[in-house]
């Protein structure tokens, strides 16, 4: 939709060609040559490589984008499913309606992201070529946010346009992948921990090792998100996953995983779809995400219990980022600012049931749903936060080798 509203060719390659044609200093041959070169680089870009750039470091070409926010009152936002307050009656997102009323900016909200990896696979080539992916905000998990910031695929945020950034929770203000939060802003956070079916396994679980009890054989599911499953296994072995650890600690954790997959203790390693196995009864316990359990309990009569294991749980966040070549950065910043008002953040938290990153959202929740104020999975206690760790950032080589080993261990 937004594409049709853009008059200038946004693709830097096309723009370069257009400039060349405009300057008239060209022969037929040079045009053909340029077209050929475009074809080749386009082809390579489509393969997901940077083609000619051989060295390391950031690979994206610098892009100069004119911000069209003044003339085009729109912002395109790609997010995960069930991640924004939604009114089934009106089929609208109430907070987005409020945002439009307040600012005149309409939001094209899409639930385009169903996995960090798959979304990256989809847009990486375009970002690498400095092209507009049609989104002005993308919402990605810490480690993927780290990757695309490192690769130069994001625009710098102007904090002057986001005064409410002062409401960001103190423990989220400094992150190692984005010092000073100049490229990213937290959308929601959550834990990975352990959960079990209360009626089928009344004695419950305390630690990750409890999952390996014989009576749970074949009834365990763990997440295919490496940082959560491995993070919990490493924490169970006493490793501080935020601190310095390396190949040997990771390898030891991987051995535990392999062993329990080989013995049939762990039946499946899954992404979002683990929820179906909990509901169908195939899985009785496992490593899960906190918000999912809150939502599932809401829809299925409170069948499960979630805890942060004794060794500790992982704390992750999804972050809003403005991709390179997005022509609506100022609009995107206004939207971020809007969602950092405590009253708005509370409306979102009441629906999505993940941890709100906004100071004051808890007080604002009193007015919306007093019952949720004391829900530690939405407004964590200090004790919980002390037991929740962020997985440290990996460099490119570590990321490739750890992911590869993890994927091989789970059989893919």
């Amino acid at each position: 939709m937004s594409h049709s509203q853009r008059r200038r060719p946004e693709d830097p390659q096309i723009r370069a060609l257009a400039q060349m044609i405009a300057s008239r200093s060209m022969s037929r041959r040079s045009v053909l040559g340029a077209a050929g070169a475009l074809g080749v680089t386009g082809l390579l870009a489509a393969c997901g490589t940077s083609g000619t750039s051989g060295g390391g470091g950031t690979s994206a070409a610098p892009v100069d984008v004119t911000d069209l926010s003044e003339s085009e009152k729109i912002v395109n936002w790609a997010n995960w499913t069930l991640y924004l307050d939604y009114d089934d009656g009106t089929k609208k997102y109430p907070t987005l309606e409020q945002f439009k009323e307040l600012t005149g900016i309409s939001t094209n909200y899409s639930e385009d992201i169903d996995g960090n990896d798959t979304y990256y696979g989809k847009v990486q080539a375009q970002l690498n070529a400095g092209q507009d992916i049609g989104q002005d905000i993308v919402t990605l998990t810490d480690w993927m946010a780290a990757r695309i910031i490192r690769q130069g695929f994001t625009q710098e945020l102007d904090h002057a346009n986001i005064p409410n950034i002062s409401n960001l929770l103190p423990n989220l203000q400094e992150v190692d992948f984005d010092p000073g939060r100049h490229h990213s802003l937290t959308w929601q956070s959550g834990y990975a921990g352990i959960a079990w079916n209360k009626s089928r396994f009344p004695k419950g679980l305390k630690s990750v090792s409890d999952l390996w009890q014989p009576e749970l054989k074949g009834r365990i599911t763990v997440l295919d998100e490496m940082r959560d499953t491995m993070g919990l296994l490493l924490l169970d072995a006493g490793v501080d996953i935020s601190g310095q650890w390396g190949e040997s600690e990771f390898g030891a954790g991987l051995d535990v995983l392999r062993e329990n997959i080989a013995s049939g203790q762990i039946r499946q390693v899954k992404g979002n779809s683990y929820k179906e196995d909990f509901i169908s009864g195939d899985a009785i316990a496992g490593i899960v995400w906190s918000g999912d359990i809150v939502q599932m309990n809401f829809e299925n009569d409170d069948q499960w219990e979630f805890v942060i294991p004794e060794g500790g749980g992982t704390l992750w966040s999804d972050n809003m980022l403005v991709p390179v070549a997005s022509p609506h950065k100022a609009n995107a910043e206004r939207l971020m600012d809007f969602y950092y008002q405590p009253e708005v953040a509370a409306q979102v938290a009441a629906y999505v049931n993940f941890i709100s990153p906004v100071v004051g959202a808890r007080e604002a929740m009193e007015a919306i749903d007093p019952e949720l104020v004391d829900n530690p999975l939405i407004f964590p206690t200090d004790d919980d936060l002390e037991h929740a760790y962020a997985f440290r950032s990996l460099d490119a080589d570590e990321e490739t080798s750890f992911t590869s080993e993890f994927q091989q261990s789970i059989g893919a």
């Binding site: 798959t118 039946r267 179906e276 994927q407 059989g411």
Partner: protein, 310 residues
């Protein structure tokens, strides 16, 4: 073939005028031009991507490179590394696909025969059954597989019954096992087996079956000597249409399996591409899969293929 036709008509051609000959040639060329769009399409959308895939499979990652950054090279070791790690998965994929193809044939042939031959005189019933055969195509492949997951689940009717009659151990299960994956493959590709066989048997001249009976052949002999050979090209098409997509399938393997013992090559390619961001590795595996299927199919055609397929 065309030269033979011309040769046989050689004498007649001499009698025609040069004008007629030219007209004839023009007509021949029009036919060639009509093939052009198809050929260009094939070149653009098949040959070129395959070449890109081949080139990609030989790319290398320079030291210290960013994730997803690869440079052109001739790194043939990509193939060795991938094959060494994943040859069991590749073999398993072909094995699963083979079992599913045989099962689909055993289930599908009688179905096709019933509709095409037995019910030939019963227009309405035949029509209803035909619609039922095609009906699965009207709903999503993924949804149907998802439904099977519920049917086969531990708390489901089938698993509970099997446990009650001790066919399944008390702590056993059906989902996340090779049985579930092969069953899913068989189920999902069954229509691809049935329809070509049906199309073939529908043209079967039943007078030949009567003649066979008149010559004192029993039903088994009639089937093996008359019906089966006459429907061979349908069986052939059905087995290819089932085996080839089944070998590369990953929906069944990930929904019904998703376990170390059920991983199929499609899942590995997906994981190398999207998770590990190892494009050369994923490309190498895809290429190996394509070439292996091609070789298997060529062997199959050589051994069992009918003349018109050659």
């Amino acid at each position: 073939m065309s030269s033979r036709v011309l040769g046989r008509r050689g004498k007649k051609l001499d009698l025609r005028s040069a004008e007629e000959l030219r007209a004839e040639r023009r007509k021949g060329r029009t036919g060639q031009y009509l093939v052009l769009p198809g050929m260009i399409g094939l070149a653009l959308f098949f040959a070129l991507p395959v070449l890109v895939l081949l080139a990609m499979s030989l790319y290398t990652k320079p030291p210290g490179a960013e994730i997803g950054e690869f440079v052109p090279a001739l790194q043939f070791s990509n193939y060795a590394v991938m094959l060494e790690a994943y040859w069991p998965v590749l073999l398993r994929s072909f094995w699963f696909a083979l079992i599913a193809t045989v099962l689909a044939l055993l289930i599908g042939y009688p179905m096709a025969y019933l509709v095409a031959v037995r019910l030939r005189q019963h227009g309405l019933l035949k029509g209803i059954l035909l619609v039922l055969l095609i009906a699965p195509f009207f709903s999503s492949f993924i949804l149907r597989t998802q439904a099977w997951k519920q049917i086969l689940s531990d708390e489901g009717f089938i698993a509970q019954t099997l446990k009650a009659v001790s066919l399944l151990p008390a702590d056993g299960h059906l989902t996340a096992t090779p049985i579930a994956v092969v069953a899913g493959l068989t189920y999902n590709f069954l229509p691809f087996m049935v329809l070509p066989i049906y199309a073939n048997l529908d043209r079967l001249d039943t007078r030949l079956l009567e003649a066979s009976g008149d010559l004192y052949a029993n039903p088994v002999t009639t089937f093996t000597k008359v019906t089966l050979p006459l429907s061979a090209s349908g069986v052939f098409a059905g087995t290819l249409l089932t085996f080839i997509p089944a070998a590369g399938d990953y929906i069944n393997a990930s929904l019904l399996g998703n376990n170390r013992n059920t991983t199929m090559i499609g899942q590995v390619i997906d994981s190398r591409f999207f998770r590990v961001i190892d494009y050369p590795g994923a490309a190498a595996l895809s290429f190996v899969l394509m070439v292996s299927i091609l070789i298997l199919v060529i062997i199959y055609i050589r051994r069992f293929g009918t003349r018109e397929l050659m």
